[in-house]
């Protein structure tokens, strides 16, 4: 039986990487991800985890080392945040294009300048189109459960793709929460061994990351796209089986009181916890509001989103990142475009807030909902509303 422990979420993530029996960890410490790799380094140094821990000189090297490790068929893990993710950027594309199932926790952090170590989703949005499977988690339990699932999804022969688990810096990474930490035999039963089909092997040489002239490049990219879209089915199966093993079920879009709701709020990541408290409060006051929590960011769950919002009149999306000079919130922009051709669709209102660690409280979310309803009725000539900025 799983133990219920009070544990810092970063430490709990390291503990499940140990339970997943990772072979190679290559990482560079950066706030607010540091505790994950620090604890993993300790587990390896203490002999509790039999893995190669490669203390590289940069995040670019971290991901490069992960490519090599994953290419020989090793179960490979890394973690980064904010600027570290940016420094890794070019190699992130290589991992997904080469179909190497590297698992990475991204502890979301705002990007410089000005320097901020606090959380938002601007780092995550910069890697939106890199071809990784990307999952946003809301709390510690979701974080560790999805790290376990990430290994199984990424290494599945039908998938073979790297997976990012996004968790908000500090709001999650440094929080001590009650967590059900599974036992080794429970994880062993759920997670098969990594068995990469075409590893680097001197006995059967292959070459990876090859040169592709114009006559073949498009075919390689289409193969990658078809594969990432098809991964959704495996993700759903994995979450379902995870539920059967551990009694906690996950879905691409989680609905909270939204079956009969006229007004829906949509959030991603840790703010969903606060937003659900707002929904509880407003429901008690007789308001017909609900919350959608977007968990699966890539592959984007088009059908689930369309299904979830089709009875609502208003959909208010909160983004924690800004697409400068563009549509405002990247999440809202994708949802608007997913709904554009639908006959029955809600009015979509875009808010951007919570940048660089700025808190959004229960009362703030209530204000966002009320203002969103007002905008949906009166209309607006703005692409989006910025929330909480002093004028």
């Amino acid at each position: 039986m799983a133990k219920r422990v009070g544990m810092e979420i970063s430490v709990a993530i390291s503990e499940v990487v140990k339970l997943a029996n990772a072979d190679v960890i290559a990482a560079y410490p950066i706030t607010p991800q540091t505790h994950i790799v620090e604890h993993l380094a300790k587990l390896v140094a203490d002999g509790e985890l039999d893995a190669e821990y490669i203390p590289v000189e940069s995040e670019h090297s971290a991901m490069s080392a992960c490519l090599g490790a994953s290419a020989v068929g090793a179960r490979t893990f890394t973690a980064t945040a904010g600027q570290g993710l940016e420094l890794m950027h070019e190699v992130i594309y290589v991992a997904s294009s080469m179909r190497l199932p590297i698992i990475m926790t991204v502890v979301n952090r705002a990007l410089s300048a000005p320097l901020s170590v606090w959380s938002d989703h601007s780092d995550a949005m910069s890697v939106r189109d890199t071809g990784w499977i990307q999952i946003f988690v809301e709390n510690g339990q979701e974080a560790i459960d999805n790290v376990i699932c990430a290994f199984r999804i990424g290494e599945d022969r039908r998938v073979l793709l790297p997976v990012m688990i996004h968790l908000d810096g500090f709001h999650l990474s440094h929080m001590i929460e009650p967590i059900l930490l599974p036992e080794q035999d429970e994880v062993d039963k759920f997670l098969p061994k990594n068995d990469y089909p075409l590893p680097l092997d001197p006995a059967k040489p292959v070459s990876m990351g090859d040169f592709a002239p114009p006559v073949i490049y498009s075919e390689t990219k289409w193969a990658q796209e078809v594969n990432l879209r098809a991964a959704k089915e495996v993700i759903l199966q994995c979450w379902n089986e995870f539920g059967n093993h551990f009694q906690r079920y996950y879905s691409p879009v989680e609905c909270y009181h939204c079956e009969d709701a006229d007004v829906l709020l949509l959030t991603m990541g840790s703010f969903s916890e606060t937003a659900s408290m707002t929904i509880d409060k407003m429901r008690k006051e007789g308001r017909n509001v609900g919350l959608l929590k977007l968990r699966l960011w890539r592959p984007f769950p088009f059908d689930e989103i369309r299904q979830a919002v089709k009875k609502a009149k208003v959909l208010i999306v909160l983004d924690r990142a800004l697409s400068f000079g563009g549509p405002g919130g990247p999440v809202c922009s994708e949802i608007r475009s997913a709904l554009y051709d639908e006959e029955n669709k809600p009015k979509v209102v875009s808010f951007v807030g919570g940048l660089g660690g700025r808190d959004i409280t229960v009362a703030d979310f209530e204000e966002i909902v009320n203002k969103g309803i007002e905008i949906s009725q009166k209309g607006s000539n703005k692409e989006f509303e910025i929330f909480g900025v002093r004028e």
């Binding site: 294009s97 073979l160 075409l198 070459s207 073949i216 075919e219």
Partner: protein, 97 residues
């Protein structure tokens, strides 16, 4: 690969475009890049081999007669052979087909 490269579909590719046959770069027709081809004047050529040595593609081979000829499957038309030839026996001519 068994098919010509312009007939390979995305379904034919190995995962991540992994190449399982070593040495298949020789199947890649770099001759497609060429806009000029080298023509050798056998009257001027003294079979010194310098064109073959300077060719960055390594595609100039000696014929049975002892002259040197570029393999047009690989020749990119860079013109280095014509530039280096001490007898000025090589002329670069526009590809017009």
């Amino acid at each position: 690969m068994t098919k010509p490269e312009n007939e390979i579909t995305w379904k034919d590719l190995e995962i991540g475009f992994i190449v399982t046959e070593p040495g298949n770069a020789s199947q890649y027709k770099t001759g497609d890049w060429r806009s000029q081809r080298p023509i050798i004047d056998k009257e001027k050529c003294n079979k010194c081999t310098l064109c073959s040595i300077y060719c960055p593609e390594g595609c100039i081979e000696q014929t049975d007669e002892g002259y040197f000829e570029a393999n047009l499957f690989y020749c990119k038309g860079c013109g280095i052979c014509a530039k280096e030839c001490p007898k000025k026996a090589i002329t670069m001519v526009e590809e017009e087909e």
